[in-house]
Symmetry: C2
Subunit: 224 residues, 2 copies
């Protein structure tokens, strides 16, 4: 890798990690808005979104500039293409955080509905996955990326638990239907955050090992 | 654009349109499995997924090869970067079709539960959006891409209708909770297919006009 390209790549990594930190913060606030009923945090999440959008566009432009300027091949080219993809994933994760915050706001009208504690567990794991997937990318660490994949199964199991709890609540009382559906949506959003982290991890493994793992989880997806 | 690049780009367009046609077929089958209770179609959808995955990988490799070989700049570079992104969207749409098919299978155990007719409307629109977004890309037609964006609002409205119908069913009978939740998931999957089509359309507008519309729908997302 040329010195100039390495310099630009280091910058890109810094920007990606900084974007990821902001997105993780949004996920954290969105779920605290939900599980601790700290509704002021929901507004903070929505307010942070335009900044994420601008950063995503900037990183994409940066990638295109690097492609045009350095005309990289082989591993360097693949690395920049991976940034294009994971940048997209990060932006969609931020959108999901906004959606979770929105569900938290809707739940304000149902103060009596208990939010399943498992949701909080799910979100802790999903946030860890996002961070670990990005670190694995920067360090080109396929082993850490594989650990992210294994965490996804745990998130899916927790999601099933949440859904069962919500179903029980809805069966017991018609009044629980509306708030339980908001929780159901939030739980799916968290699951999708974990899915995006999984996509990033799969891209990292492909980048490092050339092994296409990203389509080997189809059977697992089917059971959800 | 050089003759060789044009030749490769034409091939790429053909592959993308052919992938899109397969994915649209999967969406159609998945929702017929659901709404017409034609469960054998659910298996066909799942069986088609590995082919889509292979095609996605091939198109991505094709893009990287074109970047390395032709070292395109400006509009050509941006066009190939757009293919990298929409290829990803198409593959995820196929995954959503598989998820819908899976919900259809789960509903087999609840033959008495009426599937809302609105779901079928939603899916017709979402499939149209996918096709129109891809056509807009190939023809570099920003106007058609903007029409896709406007359809997304209609899909969101239909989704709200479906959710209301399902909530009513759940409030009336505890037995309806499980099947209604499967429908609820399917409805969200269809909504997400429309979201992916919207992402593609937004990328097309950016490609053609340089106008970043992809983050102007945040307000609309918040109301869902």
């Amino acid at each position: 890798m040329s010195k100039h390209l390495k310099h630009d790549m280091d910058n890109l990594h810094r920007e990606i990690l900084s974007l990821s930190a902001r997105v993780e913060e949004m996920i954290d606030k969105a779920t605290r808005a939900l599980s601790e009923r700290r509704y002021e945090m929901a507004s903070e999440v929505a307010a942070a979104d335009p900044e994420i959008d601008r950063r995503e566009v900037r990183i994409e432009e940066e990638c295109l500039k690097m492609l045009a300027l350095h005309q990289p091949v082989a591993a360097d080219l693949r690395r920049i293409a991976t940034v294009l993809k994971l940048n997209n994933d990060l932006e969609r994760i931020a959108d999901l955080a906004v959606n979770i915050a929105e569900r938290a706001r809707s739940l304000r009208d149902h103060p009596e509905f208990p939010i399943p504690a498992t949701l909080r567990e799910m979100v802790t794991l999903a946030t860890q996955m996002v961070r670990a997937a990005l670190d694995a990318f920067v360090n080109l660490d396929a082993q850490s990326a594989r650990q992210v994949l294994s965490l996804d199964d745990t998130v899916d199991q927790l999601n099933v638990e949440v859904i069962n709890q919500l179903q029980d609540a809805m069966r017991e009382s018609p009044d629980a239907v509306a708030p339980a559906l908001y929780c159901f949506s939030a739980s799916r959003h968290i699951e999708r955050i974990a899915d995006h982290a999984t996509n990033i991890a799969e891209d990292v493994i492909y980048l490092v090992e050339g092994d296409i793992v990203r389509h080997k989880n189809v059977a697992a997806q089917m059971t959800r």
